[in-house]
Symmetry: D2
Subunit: 129 residues, 4 copies
Amino acid sequence: MYIYELEFKVRDYELDVQGIVNNSVYQNYLEHTRHEFLLSRNVSFADLSKEGIDAVVARIEIAYKNPLRSKDEFVCKLNVKKEGIKYIFNQAIFRKSDNKLCVKAKVTTVVLVHGVLTADFAPFDELVD
Amino acid sequence: MYIYELEFKVRDYELDVQGIVNNSVYQNYLEHTRHEFLLSRNVSFADLSKEGIDAVVARIEIAYKNPLRSKDEFVCKLNVKKEGIKYIFNQAIFRKSDNKLCVKAKVTTVVLVHGVLTADFAPFDELVD
Amino acid sequence: MYIYELEFKVRDYELDVQGIVNNSVYQNYLEHTRHEFLLSRNVSFADLSKEGIDAVVARIEIAYKNPLRSKDEFVCKLNVKKEGIKYIFNQAIFRKSDNKLCVKAKVTTVVLVHGVLTADFAPFDELVD
Amino acid sequence: MYIYELEFKVRDYELDVQGIVNNSVYQNYLEHTRHEFLLSRNVSFADLSKEGIDAVVARIEIAYKNPLRSKDEFVCKLNVKKEGIKYIFNQAIFRKSDNKLCVKAKVTTVVLVHGVLTADFAPFDELVD
């Protein structure tokens, strides 16, 4: 069901005072995985931005299931669907030691070309299976 | 409808290559506002954590409406409801210059006492109107 | 001796597992103070960057004297000197409760105009006393 | 001259509005490399902290030579010396594509056991060559 995955290891500066990865940091993991997925398909978020093409997150839903801690290794997986003008990334993070689900997320993105919403952005349409 | 609000100003290190505040940073704003709200009611997230009482986010839903940019000042507002064992924070971020809605969020939290889910945490129950 | 100061309060997401503000976060505080100082003199770091003018940090030296913790309020102060082509910001962070020195920093910056080092950048020269 | 190295890739959320990695983020890279080095020698920063043993940075000096950008891969190297009660980490970051030096840093740390400075912390003394 997932078409791309990326491996990570928790970095201690990502922990908060509870000794677990801070909630906002998972968004960083999710974003980096999407961007690396795009790069694996020869689409660069940073280069697009320079050309005035911005993929932006319109909505994010994250369910926090199990916290990551110092030394944890994990894998972030994704697939992508199209619904109208929206490209929807379904993402999940699994801890490697026991394959436990840590985070499940649905990330709804849209594409703006010079600030205007675009219904069909070819490089993204090719990502959708 | 909101019972607490906190003023902020964008810091340039929070911007990404698109020149807008990075999506994950809004979670920092939302969290800081919740913690300052708790402090205003004499509840300290950091102190609770030291005593083994952890308020954790179980689920977050964020709708990104308008991006914040360098120099923007904004206000983050919240209210809190109880549903079963969940304390639900409804939060919104408004840009000060034009009062435009930037972000709307629903943050579902639960309280763990020494790792065990707690149905009634008195200091939080007093926050609910 | 200092010509500008800005007030802050620690945000809990800036703490690490030791319960103190993470070392890297002080660089955020120092940078934000420099940028707000520039804005107070009508110089915008973000706007300059759009025009191809980049003030970049060439060297930073930070002495960590006393750690900041949850709930701490503090003030970040600065002055600026010119040495050759370098603009040198001397910065310090003081905890408000007891006026204790927390961090002392020397930040050496240079200005690049379309990638080329500039000896005299008028808007910065006016900052130097 | 370096006794440990760790490979990284820039993540887009680490970039700022100039399209380069934000200065403070290099401290994250440097810290993560030190902690992974410690782990490779069976010393855990996070576990030590739980036992009341805190390795803290007393001083950091960073020279920024060449900026890292989106997609850049790099390696962070280190060695460690002892001077009096100080453990001094010399660190450098090299871009992989051309082996260019990006950052050079000297990080001076001390060890506190339950808040008291310690002259000889055996697990760290064994790291020093």
